[in-house]
Amino acid sequence: MRRPWQWLSMGVALAAAAAPSPAAELRDLYFGEALYQAYQGQYFDALERLDAELAQHQRVDEPQLDSLQYHIRQADFSVGDFELRYRMHLRAGRAVKAVLDADVEQPVKNEAAYRLARIEFQKDQPQDALQALERIQGAVPDNIKDDLEFLRANVYLALGRPADAVEVLKRLQGAESLKGFAAYNLGIALLQANHTPEGLRQLEKAGQIESRDTAVAAIRDKSNMVLGSVMLRSEDYAHARLAFDRVRLEGPYSNRALLSTGWADASTHDYQKSLVPWGMLIGRDSTDAAVQEAKLALPFAYSKLRVYGRAASLYSQALDSFGKELEKVDASTRSIRAGNFLKALVREEINQDNVWVVRLRTLPDTPETFYLTELMASNDFQTALHNYLDLEDLHRRLLAWQGSFDAFQDLIRLRRANYEPLLPEVDAHFKELDAQMRMRLEQRDLLQKRLQDLLTAPRPPLLATADERVALERLRKIETALKHESGAECAAQQMQVQHLQGVLTWRLYTEYPERLTQAHEDLHELNEDVQVLHAQYTAFVRARQAAVHSYAGYDQSIQRLRSRVAAALARVDTLLARQGQVIEAVAIDELNTRRQRLEAYQVQARYAVADSYDRALKEHGSGGTP
């Protein structure tokens, strides 16, 4: 069984490693857009974009020419990261698995195996994570080498193989990126492997690591807390105190450390010394469990020092404080039952950054959250909370989509009303133009064929101008008419006709090459006009189709989507209610626990205040210092 403190350290290290990696020289804008959403933590939008882009990439005929091809591995890996970050563990890893099973080079397979292992580990499937790690062969890129080994160690710990984890973690002690984490986990692994003295020495080392990094400082505090607690249990109070003293005075463990320091001193009967940490602690946040305990512990120390008057006064203050805290707990419970806790959780202003849970305490009008910060920081509760927030987000999206269907249908109705009356007239006119165009194109084809024939069998008369053709025809008619005449005048006219025919024929034959060239040039010009005509024709056909496509064929899709959205909305609302109820129930359960503890403290304080007053009076009566 893993303990919470292990998970916390692992979670921090892995979360840092799983951040979406920056795109190398970007070639696909939509992939860049998915990264843009992911970098802002908008994983639904990032997944939506990337899923669409990957689906389109798989549909294209030649994927190697698609711009996503350049980023395809990163895209496959990113989709897994995004799914994981959007808490879709069941789906995460499919794309990475596909890469691992594909025919790709070993370095790519190694990276895929590492990413898959990380996903499986976060899915709480350490055995599958180990199987993925075992598929790594040959050289591993330097940039993931340490993270990979750290993951391997964490997997061994999760599988209850601390001795194997120890071996791996020992090799990682010099890794700068894992500073603090590798040291702490080695300590834990050694403790789990029953090498207690070595484990404690390691935790001591981890508790003294120098760093300005807040994450490393937090893990250092944690090392000291664990070390101190183990020492306290084994009654080595001096070392326990040293460990607790190393915990920072401001930080998530500071209250517990102060409380524990006091108990370490009290355990050696040095009550005078324990007054210092407990005295500091009672001035802190009164909802904190350690502070509440200190309110009893401090007068307990005074009574041990026989300063009964001070003890009685402090017990009395504690009693008042517990009463007020109980009222707060009750108010919180009432507020949660009224649904205010869930309302506070979805307040926009608190969801802006990673420390929003802490921010909840500072918000006005959220008394229901005062006692729940610790609970809200737990892994299970975080999952439930994030699911609730995700469901709220889905609810908002689905509602917005539902509204957009009416707008779409309105748009379609308007387009139909605009185009349908126009189209019959447009179509009729187009039919006429289309017939004319076909005829002209046939003529052009005929001309081209004739000109082609002239190249192999020259026929100059075919290139006669219209005037020349008319003149030749008239000469032919005159020639025919003159055949039936006789006489000198007729002969002269026949001579004249032949002369003119000769002139024309001469011209046709001598000008033939130029005329043929000119005819080809004219045909070329005609072809250019025909091209323009074709382009206009295609543009018209496309515009005509677009006009119909702008309103026809959407009804079924919209209807189907309407039903899907409605069904999803109903499911989301049901889950939202259930998730909300679970959160409220867990919160109320936590408050009940805190209430019981406060009541127990109250009983102890009541007894102790009376006892202290009695002792103070007795001391006073006997001439001592009350």
Binding site: L35, T383, A384, L411, Q604
Partner: protein, 175 residues
């Protein structure tokens, strides 16, 4: 008094490891719900994909579709405040950046700043940028670029770089 000592000590030591049957039942309930939430997320993502396709087809048909994307040059320190896009002299969009969006751009993300429709043929895009430089000075720049819209969707990538960048200014890429 010794009893009190033991009670509080045990409370301290048990702070982080409380598991009861009720906790286990709540955890099982949460796990069951978590799986259902994951399923519904999958379903909604698939709806979103279909809806997007429909929306694109209906609002931005490919023969008129124009999309403009904005990115920052690698290593750019310019604190981008706003970008304004005009197409053929008409305002298409004026976008003001939040800190998160600026960070996402700096890390290499690409923002789709505008989706719209234009007819096929020649057009002009005007990109105006305002922001602050690393030294705190105000920065503003405007550039005009011609572009041609063909039958296929037109994607324009606008890359922004401050005056200290190796290739300063506003650059237009065709995709």
């Amino acid at each position: 008094m010794r009893r009190h000592f033991l009670v509080v000590m045990s409370a301290l030591l048990c702070l982080c490891a409380r598991t009861s049957p009720a906790d286990e039942s709540a955890r099982a309930q949460m796990k069951g719900l978590d799986e259902q939430v994951q399923e519904v997320k999958s379903d909604v993502l698939s709806i979103a994909a279909e809806l997007n396709q429909l929306q694109e087809k209906l609002l931005y048909p490919s023969d008129t579709h124009l999309a403009v994307f904005v990115s920052l040059a690698k290593g750019e320190t310019l604190r981008l405040d706003a970008v304004q896009i005009q197409i053929d002299g008409k305002l298409a969009t004026h976008y003001i950046y939040s800190f998160k969006e600026l960070e996402a751009l700096r890390r290499g993300g690409v923002q789709r700043i505008y989706s719209g429709n234009v007819a096929t043929g020649a057009h002009e895009i005007q990109v105006s940028v305002t922001g602050k430089l690393a030294n705190g000075k105000d920065y503003s720049q405007t550039e005009h670029f011609p572009f041609t819209k063909e039958i296929k969707p037109k994607l324009i990538g606008v890359m922004l770089a401050g005056p200290d960048a190796p290739q300063p200014g506003i650059h237009l890429g065709d995709w």
